[in-house]
Amino acid sequence: MTTSIILETPSPTLGLIPENGLSVVHTSPPRVDGLEKVTGSALYAADYSFPGMLYGKILRSKHAHARIVHIDKSKALALEGVKAVITHADAPKELHAGSPAPRVGQMVADQYVLAEKARYFGDGIAAVAAVSEEILEEALHLIEVEYEPLPAVFDMVEAMKPDAPSIHGTERNLVGPPFIIERGDVEEGFAQAETIFEGHYETGRPVPCYMEPNACVCRWDRGGKLTIWSSTQCAFMVRGILSQVLGIPAHDVRVIVEHMGGGFGAKQDLYQHEFVCAILARETRRPVKMEYSRKESFLGGRSRHPIKITLKQGLGKDGLLTAREVRLVSNTGGYASHGLGITAVGCLDIASLYRCEKNLKIEGISVYTNNPIAGAYRGFGAVQAFFALETQIDEMAVASGVDPLDFRLKNIVGDGDLSPSEHHILGDGLAVCLRRGAEEMGWYERKKMGRNNSSPLKRGWGVGTEMHSSGAYPDIEEQSNAIIRMNEDGTVNLIIGMADLGTGTRTMAAQIAAEVLGISLGEIRVIDGDTDVTPFDIGAYASRTTYVGGGAVLKAANHLKKQLLELASERLECPLEDLSLIEGRVFAKNAPNEGIAVRDLVSGEGGRPPRTLIGQGNNEPTVAYSFGAHFAEVEVDTEIGQIKVLQVIAVHEIGRAINPVAVAGQIEGGIQQGIGHALTEDFIIDKKTGRPLNPSFVDYKMPLALDMPKIKTIILEEFPDPSGPFGAKGIGEDPIIPIGPAIGNAVYEATGVRMRELPITPEKFLKAFAET
């Protein structure tokens, strides 16, 4: 492990790890699929080709809101090499929700495969299949579309006015009923306050920018079965919703995800091309490949929800919070996607983090506008909610003359307090993270050099915290499955339903299985991402794969181990409880030198064919919480308004790090995205036309290697959760959350300017700086 990571494991470990310690889990072997990735042999969806394959592309609306009066496809069809052109008239009239999380009421079926009405600039309205990409490009330009432009609305507040254009025919363009939390009497709480703070906070429209643009290849066999190679986080959702829309049974859709170039939540949704590709392939009876260009991945992709939050809190004489009132409005764009879920999570999150259980009133609204679709993105609702809360907490500390860290430690939720899901929190993880980070950077000793020097460059430190659920409970009743099959030579096939979108799921799963079975990683092959083969799984998101999916692997491995021991018990004529499984051999307590190799237990003998042992694991936990605190140092150039992050100290309490290097990788990557969101990343939509102004990597500015600060990552394992494998909790989403407010608060320390809107662009900063 490198010097930038510190891993701290206190004893005791609550019986969550074996007595003789861990040997595979809690280490950082190279990824089990790493060799493929470093040699260029890993296959991603767009790398597949088949004989006779066609290429497909979507024609996208040039209006943000328009009725499609007529589409003339004759010229395109006449072009040599064009094999099919489809419009809404050729596509199934079946409304779908884009991301059908099973058993959840939060999704709204409001999308057609191809619509008769475009609801955002870039909405797909027709599609072509042709023999080459060049012909495809020409054909798209030969399709003639007659639009009837409709009045459009882009601002979420405007969209709720009675005379606003209606996007889906819902009242005031609301996606659904408001999400409301009420506890105690908020007015009473404000009456008790010595000071009341109220502020408006706003977050921008960052885009996940997974490096692999959306892509899929579809192929039908003559028996009517569809195979789709797709870049998706949720193979089973793709199967489920394709089968619904195409009107074919689930077993006639096979979804294969081999390698995936990132998703960060957005690839939970089915995108238009996945439907269109299947339809084009069915129509032409040829395989069809569709790849989004980078521009399409912006236009037809999913961004984070821009959210406006009005936050009002009361502070008592004793320095404790007395009341919190929140109104949260979220801009979901042309279609609902995860709009309701994100609003709900934002509301639940902002109800927690700082103790204010008695007097609370929160209302969240999700609104349609004619902007590109906002969807699921790492930090789902939490990024926005905690930016507001963490900024205002800082303001309260400053205004009341209390050190921001001390203020936090006094009010932060801890053991037994209510979590966002209204469970009781396990452990003082937040306080521990705050203290550990403060110690590492020397919070109380730091020199506040910033504001008063004569140089235009000012420096300051800031802190932000977060807590995040592992898994999507209570939004989704969590569940994962795993199957482990032992082969006749003692090797193992581990079959899991989760896709590995790049986070290291396969490696994590293999490590857990290897730990339980006492075998090496090399003796395990993970099979995943194939709906014909693996057990059901809702997908890789919500910081759930280790916590929920890893738990299923643990159960399956234990199930297999039990069968092995039972076999050994017969063979060795030794009671079960006296057997132990170590390094591929089963030993009896009284005969530590003899034992029997696992291979010999399963290989068959004397003409008897080998037995197949199958372990099965189904895991349905509720929820656990991980905690984090980020400390960021910034330098602000107060003449040009640019902010540079100089260093970050990231402390995360995650129960158990199954693979510490992979955990640190999540943290460092989350910080890169979070720095981008705080400073440079914003998908900008023209306020008059709804046309995206920066759908490219030149003008949508993600931090590059030269822009990234030094990061020190501290992983704590203070509060392992009994419901997670070996005590492990999630980490995927956590690190993107606290970095934003940490940067905003550091800018305040450096310059005295309070920024309540992300991203903090140079122009916004200079304007605010001039006003202070």
Partner: protein, 302 residues
């Protein structure tokens, strides 16, 4: 990409005759880092692409004290940024080259292509104009030489005639006590198109400003000289007041637009700030008589 025919002329006259033959429907391909993007994005739809990289004698970068720096039309940005003489004597150009795109881009992109694309934000233009460069062309009517300052007529537009090819850029040798700076404003440390670019080439005579050329990028349809600012400084003693006055004059003279990279007001204000900074840095460099950029390879990072 939309289909086109492809040619690899072996001589300049051959290239020129192809251009004439295709009469406006052909594009010259040098590094291709602009042209291919424009074709892919259907901003430009040539029926014919003429790759001039096989024409011998265009790929050079040479210097002599009398004629100064000669940049052949196939010289890449990478060749420029790694040239010791550029680093030493053309610090503004060096800085512009080093901050252009990425290494991958600079290994293909040519200075000539940067000039002929004539983007208002093109990085090498301000320092080359500040250095009083001249452009040499070859066309149906033979050779021409054009002061670079007069070369640009609008975004993407130059005085190049149909069939004309840029063959060489000539940059005079700097007199002693000259300081050169190019400052590029962008949000990231690399892969940025300038929101504002400011180039200053300034020569001192004792404490007096003997000559100065200030060129602004990305704040007008073409790179522009901040002549009002220059007038404030030339022939006068250097002072903080004069620098501030000149910076303000540059701000007043520029004519930026608002776009996704920055508002017109922001750009104007940044012209003021960056002109001031560039002037101070170039004065320091002129005083020390060397490049303001540390070029040692074993520099340590804090």
């Amino acid at each position: 990409m939309r289909p086109f025919d492809y040619f690899e002329p072996a001589t300049l006259p051959e290239a020129v005759s192809l251009l004439e033959r295709f009469d406006g429907r052909a594009s010259i391909l040098a590094g291709g880092t602009d042209l291919l993007v424009e074709i892919k994005e259907r901003i430009r739809l040539p029926d014919h692409v003429i790759n001039i990289k096989k024409v011998p004698g265009l790929d050079y970068l040479s210097y002599d004290p009398v004629d100064g720096l000669k940049i052949g039309s196939l010289a890449t940005l990478h060749e420029v940024e790694t040239s010791p003489v550029v680093i030493e004597k053309y610090a503004g150009l060096y800085q512009a080259a080093r901050e252009l795109g990425s290494i991958q881009v600079r290994n293909r992109a040519t200075v000539a292509g940067n000039i002929c694309r004539a983007s208002p934000s093109a990085d090498t233009l301000p320092p080359l104009i500040a250095d009083n460069a001249t452009i040499h062309t070859f066309g149906p009517d033979g050779e021409r030489s054009i002061p670079m300052e007069k070369f640009f007529t609008g975004p993407g537009k130059t005085v190049l005639l149909d069939g004309e090819i840029l063959t060489r850029i000539n940059v005079p040798s700097p007199p002693p006590n000259t300081g050169k700076v190019y400052l590029k404003l962008g949000r990231r440390a690399a892969m940025e198109l300038a929101t504002v670019g400011v180039a200053v080439t300034l020569t001192l005579d004792g404490n007096e400003c003997r000559s100065v050329r200030i060129v602004l990028g990305a704040v007008a349809p073409t790179p522009m000289r901040a002549t009002d600012a220059e007038d404030i400084l030339i022939g006068k003693a250097i002072s903080e007041n004069a620098i501030e006055e000149a910076s303000q004059a540059a701000k007043d003279q520029c004519r930026p637009i608002s776009d996704v990279r920055g508002s017109a007001d922001y750009r104007r204000e940044m012209v003021r700030v960056l002109t001031g900074r560039a002037l101070r840095m170039s004065i320091e460099a002129a005083n020390e008589g060397n490049s303001p950029f540390d070029i040692s390879t074993d520099q340590t990072v804090d």
